[in-house]
């Protein structure tokens, strides 16, 4: 399994039967392919559908059927279409159980930055700020290091925030970290890495349970 698939598989384990889930574009969508058997979750796309299905077969695309990333989708039986205001009422009102988003940076205070690199890249926040604010559980899916090898898990985000202190869980190719009042709790280390590897790749302070240290 490649890095991205691994992250997707790990995130899929966080989804519980009956959950309503919104996956951000890019890496988070990897989770779709790894939902455990017996777990039935319903996916929302914030442009106005609950109950998205798999990509249509080639040639079966419908111009009016896209997800929030612009990719063609299908609708499952029991899906519903609605307008953007209701879609964000669902999100902001706390009716989405889990959202998974990508990140440029996260930090030990549960902050997330994923919508702007001032002066360089200004895609805008789209629906991300509402998703992080409204979803019951916010999971970040990202690679631990950026392309230059710098840690994306910081003491304090340096980029403008998407939301303040609202992250629940950070899943990277190297580790799974939970945001707690005591800081970032290291919950899992990916096979092939040591706790030391993770600590070295993490600018943030980590809280490390002893059973993980024993494992090394």
């Amino acid at each position: 399994m490649d890095k991205r698939a691994m992250i997707g598989a790990r995130i899929a384990k966080e989804l519980k039967d009956g959950d309503y889930v919104n996956l951000g574009i890019g890496l988070p969508t990897e989770a779709v392919n790894h939902i455990p058997e017996g777990v039935h979750v319903t996916f929302q796309s914030e442009n106005g559908i609950m109950g998205t299905g798999p990509k249509p077969a080639e040639g079966m695309e419908d111009e009016d059927m896209i997800n929030a990333g612009g990719g063609y989708i299908t609708a499952l039986k029991g899906a519903s279409f609605f307008d953007s205001a209701l879609s964000f009422a669902i999100i902001r009102g706390g009716h989405v159980d889990v959202t998974v988003l990508g990140a440029l940076q996260v930090d030990q205070h549960g902050n997330l930055a994923n919508w702007i690199i001032p002066g360089k890249l200004v895609p805008g926040m789209g629906g991300a700020m509402d998703l992080v604010t409204g979803a019951k559980k916010v999971i970040v899916a990202m690679e631990h290091l950026d392309k230059k090898g710098n840690s994306k898990v910081l003491k304090q985000c340096t980029l403008p925030l998407t939301a303040k202190g609202l992250l629940s869980l950070i899943v990277t190719d190297m580790a799974v970290m939970e945001v707690t009042p005591q800081g970032l709790l290291l919950r899992e280390v990916t096979e092939g890495f040591t706790v030391e590897d993770v600590v070295r790749a993490t600018e943030a302070e980590l809280v490390i349970p002893s059973h993980l240290l024993d494992k090394d």
Partner: protein, 221 residues
């Protein structure tokens, strides 16, 4: 995903002092089976959020007659003498809210908003003790979201995915109340399979619905 329960099971979840957002307009579209079940439990000190206080023998009027209501946020009392009597005697505390404001305040809670600014009520007693906010020279009343613990709604049909459709003017406040409950319980005529309600025609997506009671089971309730 919703769980199917009986009206009695639904009523048993509702503790004293619960805040209930109840659908219906002059009892049309009211979840009568759920209301009857709450009357049967006798649970007291309820706070109700409703468009109107209905009639003594229909809709939420039955809760009032049974002395289960401690306070209400409501826009119209004109059809129910009992609630007016209980208001005058001090048994029920009434906050009269303009109907459009009531709907927006309930919707705001369901949509995760803190409140809304409305021009309705400016220059009347409704604005008393409230913050007035001026936008581009026009005054608005800041009206906070109305929280609720349970939404009790009446729909026509649900599908197994929890999607609801309503029937004619029995729709009224039901889709709005359904958005707002921490726990939303829908009373329906029948539950059909997922896919039997066209995705284009769904009014309340299943994500808002926690429990469903099928009406025929409670017809004699």
């Amino acid at each position: 995903m919703f769980k199917q329960i009986t009206a009695a099971e639904a009523a048993a979840m509702i503790a004293p002092h619960s805040r209930l957002a109840i659908g219906g307009f002059l009892a049309v579209g009211a979840p009568e089976g759920l209301i009857d079940a709450i009357v049967a439990t006798g649970t007291k000190d309820l706070h109700i959020i409703v468009i109107a206080s209905d009639w003594e023998d229909r809709g939420i009027g039955k809760l009032v007659v049974n002395h289960q209501v401690k306070s209400a946020q409501v826009s119209h009392l004109g059809t129910n003498r009992e609630i007016q009597a209980q208001m005058n005697s001090g048994e029920v505390a009434i906050e009269l809210v303009p109907q459009g404001t009531l709907m927006e305040r309930v919707r705001a809670y369901g949509a995760g908003l803190g409140g809304i600014l409305t021009p309705t009520g400016i220059g009347t007693v409704v604005e008393e003790d409230k913050q007035i906010i001026s936008i581009e020279g026009k005054d608005f009343i800041l009206e906070p979201a109305i929280p609720s613990d349970f939404a009790l709604v009446r729909a026509w049909k649900a599908d197994r995915c929890g999607n609801l459709i309503f029937r004619k003017t029995a729709r009224n406040s039901n889709p709005i109340m359904a958005m707002a409950g921490r726990i939303t319980i829908a009373e329906v005529d029948e539950i059909v399979e997922c896919g039997e309600i066209d995705p284009e025609h769904v009014v309340t997506p299943g994500v808002f619905v926690n429990y469903i009671v099928v009406r025929e089971e409670v017809k004699n309730g």
